[in-house]
Symmetry: C2
Subunit: 492 residues, 2 copies
């Protein structure tokens, strides 16, 4: 018994998971389709390593010399701390700073895992796949507008036309409004009040206006009785923010108009509005109207590094007229990230699609998995050990004919073999014993039709009695007949 204690129980660390079968096939298919959209826009792939120096990622506590919480960090055989990347943007900034010779604008896409030590939850994992697209070295609003177009094209390529909205906000407008209202917006060592305000607004979709107003002032108690401290705005200041949040309109031009009114004299605010106007002009020229891209002041994004336009792509709830149900992509302009390394301003903008969440969404919407039913189409059974080499020959013959065939490699009678086919979802089984071989024939069983529990019938004779969904065909017609059955011709 002491031996038993030594055996490790097979399991995964909290927040990690295995993905297989249809979900993974769906993911591959999705990534392929998105890639084609990105390439059509002229983006080229890049792959940075999973591991970086912690210092490169920027989540680094200067005082202690230790990496921040929330990041998986460790040491290899070098003294410096290493870390698993927590997004694909920080490594991109490192890459661009390292390769100053790159022609600019530099436009790349990257798909890969990112890692965070966060509280896992439904749809929230500690390793998750992001698909990023960024334009580095362009300060033009055209670069931002194009990111919105790409997101639209990608979602439409995935069959989500009419089911999503790309929402655009601008940090500058909000910053300008807060500045004008006398709120502290200067970046310092800790979080500024402006940052706290942004984090409040980032919860708008979930909490609604009433909840946000509480959070902007003293704080808010949730249903479970937990109290979240507020941003500490005065009533007058909070009212300005409410006015800003209420600037949502149906037309992008109208939103710009409303925001211009709120921004008043603020230089920063007016610059933000002008940026939105430019984005609107690009989108209109490119043919992306408000049915796909809207301006929405409630979109601010939580991350501190955004400096201008911010994007959020949301799925529309199918059962309501226009509620946003789920964020499936986000991004924005970050003009300061490369500067960290080089001291030179390198403007940049981009977005990230959350692949895991999107796979879930597409499954619900039935947009994936039909065409991509990976897996074998025929199981070549092993009825008679003496005929093993014949079964091998047939299997390879079918494969050469482009049919996905699996030779049964376990041990067990025909019932067990058919049960295996059933469990694997293999539609056809090829069966042949001495009888068939003598007549230069093979039998094909359509498992989609016969739904008997074959495993209970160990004897072939007994099983044959119950069997109707089976036909015997000349050996020379084997591949052709199977191809026909798979193509949907009944033939039986």
């Amino acid at each position: 018994m002491s031996e038993k204690i030594k055996r490790p129980r097979p399991r995964l660390p909290r927040g990690f998971r295995d993905v297989g079968g249809e979900d993974l096939v769906a993911r591959y298919e999705m990534i392929d389709r998105i890639r084609k959209v990105y390439e059509r826009y002229g983006f080229a792939p890049l792959q940075t390593p999973t591991v970086e120096f912690a210092e490169m990622l920027g989540k680094f506590i200067q005082e202690t010399g230790l990496p921040e919480e929330g990041v998986f960090s460790f040491r290899g055989d070098q003294p410096e701390w290493l870390a698993l990347r927590y997004d694909l943007t920080a490594p991109l900034s490192r890459y661009v700073a390292q390769h100053r010779e790159l022609p600019k604008p530099f436009r790349r896409y990257q798909v890969g895992s990112a890692f965070r030590i966060e509280k896992p939850g439904p749809g929230r994992f500690r390793e998750f796949v992001q698909f990023d697209i960024d334009t580095v070295g362009s300060a033009r609003m055209a670069a931002d507008a194009e990111i919105c177009c790409i997101l639209c094209d990608a979602f439409e390529e995935l069959g989500l036309a009419g089911k999503f909205t790309v929402r655009v906000g601008n940090r500058r407008v909000l910053n300008g409004v807060l500045e004008a209202a006398g709120v502290d917006t200067e970046p310092g060592s800790g979080a500024t009040t402006a940052t706290r305000v942004m984090r409040c607004i980032d919860k708008f979709d979930r909490l609604g206006m009433e909840g946000i107003v509480k959070l902007l002032r003293q704080g808010r108690m949730d249903d479970s009785g937990d109290f979240t401290e507020g941003a500490g705005l005065t009533n007058a200041q909070a009212n300005v923010v409410v006015e800003y949040l209420n600037a949502a309109r149906k037309s992008r031009k109208d939103v710009c108009e409303a925001l211009r009114g709120i921004a008043g004299e603020s230089q920063e605010g007016n610059r933000g509005v002008r940026e939105l106007v430019e984005i609107d002009e690009f989108l209109t020229a490119a043919g992306y109207d408000e049915s796909r891209v809207v301006f929405d002041p409630t979109v601010v994004r939580g991350l501190t590094y955004y400096t201008g336009p911010v994007f959020e792509a949301s799925l529309l709830q199918s059962d309501s007229g226009g509620q946003y149900s789920m964020s499936i992509a986000g991004g924005g302009r970050y003009d300061n990230l490369v500067e960290r390394f080089t001291g030179q301003k390198v403007p940049a903008t981009g977005a990230s699609i959350g692949i895991d969440r999107l796979v879930d969404v597409l499954k619900v919407h039935g947009q994936l998995g039909q065409k991509s039913a990976a897996g074998p189409q025929v199981l070549v059974t092993q009825m008679d050990e003496k005929l093993a080499n014949e079964y091998v020959k047939w299997t390879f013959e079918l494969r050469r004919a482009g049919i996905c065939a699996e030779l049964y490699l376990g041990r067990g009678n025909i019932g067990k073999q058919l049960k295996y086919a059933d469990q694997r979802g293999i539609p056809l089984a090829l069966i042949a014993g001495e009888d068939e071989l003598e007549h230069d024939a093979v039998s094909i069983k359509d498992l989609r039709r016969g739904k008997e529990v074959a495993s209970k019938m160990a004897e072939r004779s007994e099983w044959l009695k119950h069997e109707q969904s089976q036909q015997t065909v000349p050996r020379s017609e084997m591949a052709e007949r199977i191809a026909g059955l798979l193509a949907g011709h009944s033939g039986l």
Copy 2:
């Protein structure tokens, strides 16, 4: 100046690298092609996480409670040690042990990064991509033979027909031979003599017979004067191993015959030979002769967990008659890995293709990269700020016509824009100013033809004088003419 000191120098940890451009496109293409081969055989994809409990990977020192050297290990917010997987086989064993309900044989493929703290070198990285295929739950030699067939098909799918050989050895035969010669083969706490012998033989391709004989006995001094301690065999024992290594023959049947002679009375040795005979029968029935799969006693593979047949796929050196130049895949049977968790024997076999190395090889052989020239085909230049929206419209029109078009998003005169196109390898540029617009026309410049250093000519008028590889076409024919140029019709 003190500010400068605080800026981190952008760089990567030792042994890690960025991959981009053509290499990455080649990798994607390669993975796609291999995937299709794997699926044709009935294998389904699986993706395990990058991070596992160190204990699950087996690289865990029980006495100290610490993970082994060579593995990147760390702690998250849980007390147990985590680690980056160092291969895809250990996670597969954990997965199969965790999901006992899986229909067996379980056949999966997985592609992904693995991580090792090793001395980096040319083509050797600390993060590398493996593409694995395994059959778990089948003790049949048919499963091993099929792995060899799959490797052949995969390499041929990559255009390497006639340039590779899959070599098969069997641990049992060597173990039997050593046993008969009185060499210690029992697994204990440290490396057995048999394990040391295998590690010697694993260097056969590099050191040749003479070097191996030295290593089998007392040891060997290399050219640099470094001494490697030997396995400590007696002369008589070493001679038996040499006889074994000399059993290579042109035909698989002849190798089996020769090995049977050497195995003598050894039960284990004879079982190994019988396994090879079964594999030969399968391969012959499936149509894989000695031009693709050979039996080679010098193939033993270094890893200790292999229990029977072992595989190594090598590329043939193009300039010699049959020297193996480089290992591009390897694998074998490992019947004990799942047992670690469950106490039950679960036979398994598989192989792993080293993707990074294969990309390098295929680049040398010119098998990749032609079809896959990713990257934009047309740069839509911005000659006149006032026409910005026109340029946007045209860009999207081209994309909708299936042409990969990039709108120039930087700032700079036409010379700078054309230089950018040149640096990015974009073949065509679309150019239009007020003149063209007035005549409802656009100009198309073929950058493949005009090789002048456009960047030096800042003025368009000057540049036009030098220019012959350019034509002006009606606006309505823009997409059509560009498609024609890209398809290779000169038209100019």
